[in-house]
Point group: C2
Chain length 460, copies 2
C-alpha cells in the first residue's frame, strides 16, 4: 500500500473539518465484490473519498471524523490467528492508521454502537453506490432506503467536492504517472493493431500494459471499430481495412489515480479521404477547446465553442447549414456530438461521479441543461487552478439517431440530411487528452502521444 | 454471446423439472457491479446457474420455471430508443430467448407482480451471493434477511447440483478450451519469469494471454514467491534467485467455463536440492491421487491417500516420524498440507460453491469433517463419470502455524520440530491439473503442460 505523507492526510481532514464546522462525518470503505460465488472476487477497489482522506487501501474499513471533538477514527479488524495462517501476517491496523496520521482505531463491530451513542450531532454521510454500503447505512442508522436517499448530506458532498476538485502537486504527479501508463497502452495499440485482429486481442494488450506497470485499467476500455456506439463494451469484432479503430482507455496507478485518453486510428495504414476530413474537424475542435481552458472560464462555454467549431467545419463539408449561432443554440450539432466535451479526472476517471454531477460539475447558480447534448456535459462550471479535466470532442454518425431526427425533420434548418446520407455508416471519431488547469492556462498531462494525422499514420 | 444448441437448454430445464416434480423455480441473473462509482463497472459476470439453464449472458435478467405448468419464462427488457442511441441496436430479448428454447419473455417490471400472484405453489430459490440479489429476494418475496436465509430451497440446490455435476461432452470440450487457454498462460509465465521481475509483470502477462484469447481469468491469479501464503493476492514482490514462484491461475472461456492449473517453478534456472526434494514429494502425491481417481471412489479417500504419500516422503526426509496411519488420522500432515486435494470445476472454478459445499461435495451420509485440513476439503463424496475435478496437493511451510503447533507440542509424536526448523522459511509448493472422470478412470484435461522437474527446468 503506497500512501502520501502523514501530513497530507492530516491536512486534508483538517481542511474538511474547517469546511464542515460541526457534525460527525461517516466514511464507508468498500468491501470485496463477488463475481460468480461469494469468495471469487473482482480485484478490490477502495472508495475514492476514503482513499483521499484516509489512504488505507483494503476492504472492511470505515472511518469517522468527529468535527466537534477534532477526532479522527478508523474502524476495522486485524487478522485473526487463523487468518494469518491463510493470508500471512499483515501490518496491524493501528500501525497502518498511524501512517495516515490517525491515532485511534476501533474494531469494526464497535461502529454500530458508536453511531448509536451519538446524540445531538448530525451524522453526515455521502451517497452510497454499492448495495452493501447502502445496506450498512440502513442498518447503522436505522433508516429505510428512502430515508437513506433523502438524508445524504449535501453539505458533506460540497465540502468533499471543493477539496478533491483542486489537485495538489503530489496528486498532479500521480495523475501524470497514470497518464504516462495510459500513453504506453495507447502507443502499444497504435503500433500493433492490424487488419484481421480481434478487438479483444488489443484489449489483452492494453490490460497487459496497465497491469504489468503495477496498475490496472481505470475503467472498462472501449476498443471498437464502431466508434459511433458511445457505450460499447463489446470486443468481438474483427479489424478490417477501411474501418477506423476507436480506443478510449487509460490506466489506474497503484495509488488509484486515473488516466483517460482516446485516439482513433485507421485500421489500414492511412486514413481515407473522408476519415481525414472528419478527423481534422474533431481535431480542430480539440485545439479550439485546449486554447480556451484556463481559470475563470466556464467549461460549458468551452464546450459550446468546440461545438461551434464542429458546426463550422461540418458546414464546410455540406452536412450542416444555416445560421450556426442558432444551430448551436438549438443543439443541432448534437446529432453528431451527443455527449460532453470533458470531465474532471482524479481518483476517479469521472472524478467524484458518485457524489452527483450537479455538485461536481455545476453550482447553485449554474444548473445542468436538459437539452440533448448539453445534458450529457458532466462539467459546466468555471475552471479553477488545480482542476484536472479531459478534452474529448468527437463526431459520431449514429444511424438510429439520424433516422429519428430525419423522420421528425428535427433541426432541418441546420442539417442537410441528404448530404449526411453519405456519412450514415461512417462510424465515429474521438480524440481525448487530460489537462491540468494552471494559473494562466492549461498543460497537457503526461508524455506526448501522437494525435495529428501525420503522426498517427507514421506509427501505423 | 455464444450459446450451446437450443436443445441443450431445453433438455437441462426438462431434467430439472423432472427432478423437482412441482413448484415455481426462480433464477436471478446478475447485475453490473460498481467499482468506484455507479456506472464504472467491473467486467460483467453472469450467474453460472442462470447460464447453465438459460444461457443468456447479460445483466438485468431473471427467469422462472413453472414446473407444474411446464412453462419457462425470461424476464428482462429490450433497449429503449435512447439506449439504442448510446449502446447500438441489440437483438431483441425474445429472439435471444428463442436461441435457448424459451418462448415466453416478459418485462422485468412484471416479475414482482407475477411472483405476488403465485398462490399454492412453493417459490424455490437458490442462496444469493451478491447483495443486490439478496435485496431483490427480500423485495420480491416480502421477506426479512433472516427469512430469506432460511427459505432457500435445499431441494432446488440438490437438483441443480445433480445436473451441473455431470458434465456433458460439449461441456468437457468447453472446459478443455479453458484449460488450453490456461496452459498457454502458464507456458508464457514459465518461459518469461526472470530474476528482477515484479510479480505484477507476470500478472499482466497471464491476463494478456487470457483476454487476448477472448476470455478472462477464472479467478484472481495467485502469482507469488510466497507460495506458503495460501490466500495471496499481493503481487508487489520482486523475483529473486533462490526463490520459487508459485503460479495458480486459469482462464475463463468466452462461454464462462473455467480452467485452473498450478505450477511452482524455481526463479533460478534450476531447483535447489531442498526445492527438488519437496517438489518430488508433492509430485508423488499428485501421481498417487491421479492413479486413484475413478467412478465409485470417494474423493476423501483419494485426499487421504495423497496425505499418506506426503507423510511417507516427509518421514524419509526426517520431518515426520512415528506411525503414519495414526499421523494421517490425527491430521498431523495438515501442518504442511492445510487445504484440500481438489474441487469440482465447471462454470465456476470452484464449481457451484455458491450452492454450499455440503451439497456440492458431500452427501446426507457423508458430512464434511471438522478436523483441521479435512475441513478445507471441498469435495469428499464418491466420484462419478462426468465429474471434472482438480488434483492439487502441496506442501506449505507456514512459520506462524509451525510456531503455533510447536508451542502446543501438537502432534509431536509425528512431527520432528527440530528437523522441521531447517524448512521454516522454505515457502510452499503446489502442482495442480484438471481431470475428467471417465467410465474407467480419469483423463487429464487439455494440452500437456510441463510438470516434472526436468521438463520444468528445460523451459527456464
Amino acid at each position: 500500500m503506497k500512501v502520501f505523507s502523514k501530513e497530507t492526510y492530516i491536512n486534508r481532514r483538517k481542511e474538511l473539518k474547517r469546511k464542515m464546522g460541526s457534525g460527525l462525518l461517516l466514511f464507508l470503505g468498500n468491501e470485496e465484490s463477488s463475481m460468480n460465488f461469494k469468495d471469487n472476487w473482482y480485484p478490490f477497489r477502495q472508495d475514492s473519498t476514503f482513499l483521499y482522506f484516509f489512504g488505507l487501501d483494503m476492504p472492511g474499513l470505515a472511518a469517522v471524523i468527529d468535527v466537534d471533538q477534532d477526532l479522527d477514527m478508523v474502524f476495522g479488524d486485524d487478522l485473526t490467528t487463523v487468518e494469518i495462517i491463510w493470508q500471512g501476517s499483515h501490518t496491524a491496523l493501528s500501525d497502518l492508521a498511524e501512517t495516515v496520521g490517525v491515532n485511534k482505531t476501533k474494531s469494526k463491530a464497535e461502529l454500530p454502537t458508536f453511531l448509536d451513542s451519538i446524540s445531538g450531532q448530525r451524522i453526515h454521510f455521502l451517497p452510497p453506490y454499492r448495495p452493501e454500503n447502502f445496506q450498512k447505512l440502513e442498518a447503522y442508522l436505522g433508516k429505510s432506503p428512502q430515508e437513506i436517499n433523502s438524508a445524504v448530506s449535501v453539505q458533506f458532498i460540497k465540502a468533499v467536492v471543493s477539496l478533491r476538485s483542486i489537485k495538489s502537486e503530489e496528486e498532479i504527479l500521480e495523475i501524470t504517472n497514470a497518464v504516462n501508463m495510459s500513453v504506453k497502452m495507447h502507443k502499444r495499440l497504435m503500433r500493433e493493431a492490424k487488419p484481421g485482429m480481434k478487438e479483444y486481442e488489443l484489449l489483452g494488450l492494453v490490460n497487459y500494459e496497465a497491469i504489468s506497470a503495477g496498475g490496472t485499467v481505470s475503467f472498462p476500455p472501449i476498443i471498437t471499430i464502431n466508434g459511433q456506439i458511445l457505450h460499447n463494451h463489446n470486443y468481438s469484432n474483427t479489424l478490417t481495412n477501411g474501418k477506423m479503430l476507436l480506443g478510449d482507455f487509460g490506466a489506474e496507478s497503484a495509488m488509484h489515480y486515473a488516466g483517460d485518453i482516446t485516439r482513433t486510428i485507421p485500421v489500414s495504414a492511412k486514413f481515407s479521404d473522408s476519415q481525414r476530413d472528419i478527423y481534422q474537424i474533431v481535431f480542430s475542435a480539440y485545439q479550439t477547446a485546449v486554447a480556451l481552458i484556463k481559470p475563470g472560464v466556464r467549461f460549458k462555454e468551452v464546450h459550446l465553442a468546440a461545438c461551434r467549431k464542429l458546426a463550422e467545419r461540418l458546414k464546410d463539408l455540406g452536412i450542416m447549414k444555416g445560421n450556426l449561432d442558432d444551430a448551436v443554440q438549438q443543439g443541432a450539432h448534437a446529432l453528431f456530438f451527443q455527449c460532453g466535451l470533458g470531465h474532471m479526472m482524479g481518483l476517479d476517471v469521472h472524478d467524484m461521479e458518485d457524489l452527483g454531477e450537479q455538485y461536481v460539475g455545476y453550482t447553485d447558480e449554474l444548473l445542468k441543461s436538459s437539452q440533448f447534448g448539453l445534458k450529457s456535459l458532466r462539467l459546466g462550471k468555471e475552471l479553477e487552478k488545480g482542476f484536472v479535466v479531459t478534452i474529448e470532442p468527437g463526431l459520431y454518425f449514429i444511424p438510429q439517431l439520424i433516422d429519428l431526427w430525419e423522420g421528425e425533420k428535427r433541426n432541418s434548418d441546420y442539417i442537410d440530411y441528404k448530404a449526411l446520407s453519405n456519412f450514415r455508416d461512417f462510424g465515429g471519431i474521438r480524440v481525448e487528452d487530460g489537462f491540468e488547469i494552471t494559473s494562466t492556462g492549461a498543460k497537457v498531462l503526461g508524455d506526448p502521444l501522437e494525435i495529428e494525422i501525420g503522426e498517427v499514420e507514421a506509427l501505423r
